[in-house]
Symmetry: D3
């Protein structure tokens, strides 16, 4: 039996799979029978389905299967009215020997839909083309290059948004593209601003605004946690430190450095969101809005995808703490 990737299987296909068990919950049917709801995933798809009380796997599920453990399964993948499901034929924990068949725990980690190296390259290209000839160009480039390997892995958050490998890169690139457009637009719209809008500052700020997350978060197989520095200091201040450290070896004037430092610590705008100062420059204002929209939009997309509340709106139990409208004809089953 070939080893398949869960995210590429089609309904009805049988294959061998290396999967991570991500949850096991004991529930009760409407009539009072106990059953387990289990979930397995690889990097691109998660499947959640019941193990009924009368299933041949019920006993093993109850006493042996555990979330956080990697398994080799032989199973049929089916897309049903209740969503995608697995019909398990065989299941055992993975062993070291499975590496020979290509097993690697990283296979099961959720990951950006986009190629990390390509995203990194695009960021570098933007930096080079848009601000290469300004003092901020070398600053941005040196920071990106110095953190190339971490950026290809790092998530943007523990849970809230882009919480997967290379999620930070994905979010950063998206914010940067929006900022490029907005900087262009507002520079044209207000040609007489004093001082004029600094488009390079907007682009550099977009690329660097969350850079401190590289040291705030610690991504482990079992999940992402905060580092001590992340908890006690936070990514805004850490990101500013990274800029200041990089700047010592470059030739950047005082005001430019002050403005980019300010932009980073101000980009969350409200004190209760962690910014000790509100955006006090037009450049910081733009980065704040582009960042906030990108995060909130991602959350809303995820809520629409994951919520299982029946009816035209989702429940309020989500990261936005509000209902989202699914549509009159789109009620969850």
């Amino acid at each position: 039996m070939p080893i398949a990737s869960l995210s590429e299987m089609t309904s009805g296909q049988e294959a061998d799979l290396f999967l991570l068990m991500t949850s096991k919950e004991e529930l009760t049917t409407k009539t009072g029978s106990p059953y387990f709801k289990v979930a397995f995933r690889d990097s691109g798809r998660e499947v959640s389905f019941p193990i009924w009380d009368n299933s041949p796997w019920a006993a093993d599920c109850k006493s042996q299967w555990a979330p956080g453990v990697f398994y080799k399964l032989r199973a049929v993948y089916r897309e049903t009215n209740f969503g995608p499901q697995l019909e398990i034929h065989k299941i055992r924990e993975t062993t070291d020997a499975d590496a020979a068949d290509g097993f690697d725990p990283a296979m099961c980690r959720p990951q950006s839909r986009f190629d990390p190296q390509a995203m990194f390259d695009e960021l570098l290209t933007i930096a080079s083309e848009q601000i290469g000839d300004t003092p901020l160009g070398p600053l941005v480039e040196s920071i990106l290059r110095a953190h190339h390997d971490e950026l290809l892995q790092a998530p943007a958050a523990r849970h809230n948004h882009h919480a997967y490998a290379a999620g930070l890169l994905e979010h950063t690139l998206s914010v940067t593209r929006t900022c490029l457009h907005l900087a262009e637009k507002y520079a044209d719209y207000y040609p007489d601003m004093t001082p004029p809008l600094d488009r390079g500052m907007v682009v550099a700020g977009a690329i660097l605004h969350d850079i401190g997350k590289l040291r705030e978060l610690d991504q482990q197989p079992e999940g992402t946690t905060y580092t001590a520095e992340g908890s006690l200091i936070g990514h805004l201040l850490i990101g500013r430190d990274m800029v200041r450290d990089a700047a010592t070896e470059l030739d950047i004037d005082t005001e430019t450095l002050l403005r980019i430092e300010h932009l980073i610590i101000a980009h969350q705008r409200l004190p209760e969101w962690g910014s000790p100062k509100p955006p006090m420059t037009p450049e910081a204002l733009i980065v704040h809005y582009a960042d906030d929209l990108d995060a909130k939009f991602h959350m809303m997309v995820a809520i629409l995808r994951d919520d299982t509340n029946p009816g035209p709106t989702t429940s309020r139990r989500n990261v936005l703490r509000q209902e989202v409208f699914r549509g009159l004809a789109e009620s969850a089953e």
Copy 2:
């Protein structure tokens, strides 16, 4: 002496001008001498300067000149270290006879830098090209056409932002352009959203989000005030009414209408800003951010232009209730 437009004069030029006096403030010099600070404007420029105690105009200024009155002046325009100033040679109130020389009170009303008809045409073009073939196209178009004349005049607010003739149009067009870009971007970024992002909804929402201001605000020569309906109901609900009324004659499905209605009342996001519901659709989220950024950016530009606080930052006494950074070398004199 030719009649000139204040906004087109160059330093040192003398001309006759029709101007509105906009403020007269009695102040005291550092050494205790009283003087008046007066301001005059036409549609494109406002000039503010002192009338010293020993000026030949001091007595007239004190007892006769009054804000809100139109004057004909002969004066020399000078750009000085203290900003642009007028050296008055003659001054008298305007009379009916001045109409013959081209005087019209509307000449002195602050006005958008952009041509209202051109902005209107661009909005119509966007509506036609981007959503002409959706149910929202005819809706947007019919509302725009029905309010053509008011839109060419209406301000976007009493004081806060775009508070001048055609300011509503200018703000609406700017928001719409941003929304076009963001809708395109996020539709590409999340091709698998369920339901898919409705770009037409975003564009229609951008064009219509503030349409209720046409009936919320009443623009008079002395200034803009709230209508009774504006005070008691507010532009969010009025705008929704205008959409509902227009929709009765068109063929729009229930859900589309519900979504555009929701977008309008939710576009200010927070209850304390007047929205009874937060944005519950991705389309409403985008319009909120594009709108909020455009308004805040305009405020920041105006604060940087108008604030007279010495030092590298402006004062906090402005519409944003925060300091804005002017730059290390840009301290106001």
Copy 3:
């Protein structure tokens, strides 16, 4: 055995009953034995009692009984120190055939203690007698008549207060009676108000303030949910729409219509409670207070009735999120 109504049984009586099972919870005694706490209800009474581990019904309860299902029971009703209980002798799910014995699911829906038609008639009478000769009289009357059937059924809320059939009518009538008194009182107290207090406006506002709930809420056998329109727009705006729609066919002057529209959208007073404007007329102020008191009073009565916390006060886990004082001698068992 006769079919009885649970709410009319006396302690010790045995009868056949059609009941809805409303909850089934697995709990543990102080010594660690598992048991189930179940609840059954008809339209006027809910009874909650334990099924001990050694009960003959224990197995059926565990594996077969389910909340949301209708049952025919033969049982003895007893009022004990632990509240009213049922001693079950027979139990089976209802069948279509039970309709012949008078079974109808609506029998088990919680319902106002008051006769819906009588309440409706009283509202109509008030409208006719108090404001029949004002422009608002026909408006109120036409809306009441147009929604007669829904009003006889609709609840006032999903959970918070008057959350049962005809609850909206019960709450509306109570608010209207209070408003009648307060309008009379304050009109007498301030005879020189400018403009004078409009008693008809107060009465009309009381009757119509929550009318939008007819379209905000959807009452189903399994419980009340929000409609899409209810979630995205809310009952304040919907209620105003209903008034505006009804007004198009009547002869109402602009100001009267504006005032009643304002009253409806302002009646919850605070933005965070959904009102985009605070009460800006004395009439709106009165309706707000009468409404808020009626809802809060109902909540407090329900908390005192339902809370099972031992001690002189209830717990804080209730809709008011505060303790309520039960009395020194009234500690729950």
Copy 4:
């Protein structure tokens, strides 16, 4: 010339008057001329009018007249488009000798429209008839009688509402009447409440809720101020002290005393309004609502009477910090 009462004069009448000057403000006309706006009052009417720069009284007004001083005037009273005004023919400060003509400073203090003794008697009657046979009856009666003289004078607040002599009595009576009605109503509406609604508690609470203001406020000719005890402790706690002190000589059971004490300290409901506890009994809930409505209604009436903002709504610079709607045809001149 007869001595008249300002509040009883008719337009065009000339008379001698004893009045208190209540304000003197230096203002500037639209054309820059300085003038004074002065106000005079007796107990029932306040008149505010300009003294123009060219008035024969201009010099005296500027250098001699002072707010807080009593004057004897001979003047003509006129009701004009700009409100009631006085045309002064003679004016001098009052002297001791004026007492012979009936002058008494108390003549000029603002005062309730209602007869204080009659209001006091009505409160006593309510106490006697409604709760005379309950433990709270003697408590209320003894407190009222002990403070008879102060109650006939005391204001309900420094500025916010009922801020005039006997204002406390007027407000208390109004709240008590409302509470009588509501207690009756809700006792009928919820006959099965446990414990039953205590109507005597509601009435006693209404009468006593603000009794602490007798010691919180100090009414002086120049205006009402806070006592030290009022500032440091506040009328809620002082009122409770007064009840506790009075109760020591009466036979009141623990729970009744606890409930009335709670009602007093909880009647403002929110911590930020001074209540350390929210209303935790139905009786306290009713008194809160009746009190709050009475105060807010009084404020709204006063705002409608005093605001001079042009247009259909008042300004926001008032005790409610919001606009109040005056009516489409009622714009202030």
Copy 5:
């Protein structure tokens, strides 16, 4: 076998123990096996450990053991990597006969580490030495003496801090010591304050600030609850009553009494924490800070001791609702 005190046992020791079972929780191992986590305590130590599914005690634990019940155990105490544990050899409920062996339920109640009588004596000594010759000395002394017995038992709170027998005394003494130091310090620092800092007031305030908790809380074997008076009135007002009552028999001037009353009701500073007035005297300010620090410090110490979150910081699910830093090397196992 000797009867031992759990808190004095050393690892490996076997003894007979009288213990209170404080919790029993059904959990599941990572592989899905059910087990119970139980906890037992005496006055000085609490031990929490698992009863595995295959333990000889598993069945008894499940069906018979119950939290809140006292047991006599024969057990070996062991300090392991998972914390201190008990290996149970025998266990039975206590009987009346155990009193003969010294059993008393109070043995198992959590208790201050410090000797209550010694703390009480120190407070009295401070009162005598520091303020014995001021009017507040006799006041403080009489209140302390009158409540000697309760103070030796009372906790400072239900859960939040010092929630054990004599906890109120421990907290009060700690606050008093801090206040002694601060009063000394600030009196020296600001010798010219008007009026001068009253050190006796600070000390008296420290001793009395929480005295009302004696009547707010009711400490029972099963736990501490609020009294009716505590819920409806609160310890700030009750404490002030106690001071006022004690003062009636002493000779205290009005202002001193007013200041100590104010200090007590203001010591929590914020309305939402229950203080109807903020500290308005320097003495009240000092007591607030000393008290707040002492409570928060205690909470933080307890969080660091009890939290079981892995990683360098604790979880946020604690009384401070924030993370506390444990240290880079101190991660919980």
Copy 6:
């Protein structure tokens, strides 16, 4: 005539003085006469008094005297019921030649009551004695020494507290002394804390908590302003930078550095006061409370000294935005 120091003059003494005019306000007497209230100061005393309309200095005061200018006066100093006053005999602006008589603008700057060098030495001694042998000792010492000259001059704030030369040093020393005591106390009180309380961290944190103010504030003769860095970044982050920079040359372990950095940015506790993180260590908690009390106590002392409101309490128009109790017998005249 000898040159005297204003702060050392006694009532009735005449002398020559070098003083800074600090304010000039045009006011009106109760009877409407205009006058000026002027204030002059040297480093230790400020005197404020009226220049009546009929004073020989009235004209010069009006047209020539200006705040911010230094004057040489010959005057008699008198302590009156209205506070200390000056009877001016001669007055002229200072000239360069006055330097010969000892004039130096710094003579007139408000200044700490304490000797700056002595305070600096005490801080150094504390650092040396208390933490000299810990890694933080050299860090603190190096920072203090590097900023010796600025510390002898710097104020602690623009207006709020210790807003005078060496005010930062005075505040820092006071906080450090309190922290020494509290660290000792709580280390003794909780000997078993894990990790143990780090007294050196508390002391170092106290000394360094506000060190960033050296670069946040810019003290000029005309007053203290914020630097650009102070406005855009703030003293919490700047202070942390100073610690990090100093640490690069010292041997400090990662955790110690992280803890002191955290302490500095967390010492204001609330996000709205500028702290992006709350105190997450016991050491940070202590410094926060000691600092906050010291600042608030200073404010209250200053309010009691400066407020001129009549009556037993001050007005609310002060930095604490609340009334402060002055005492029953201490009403301001």
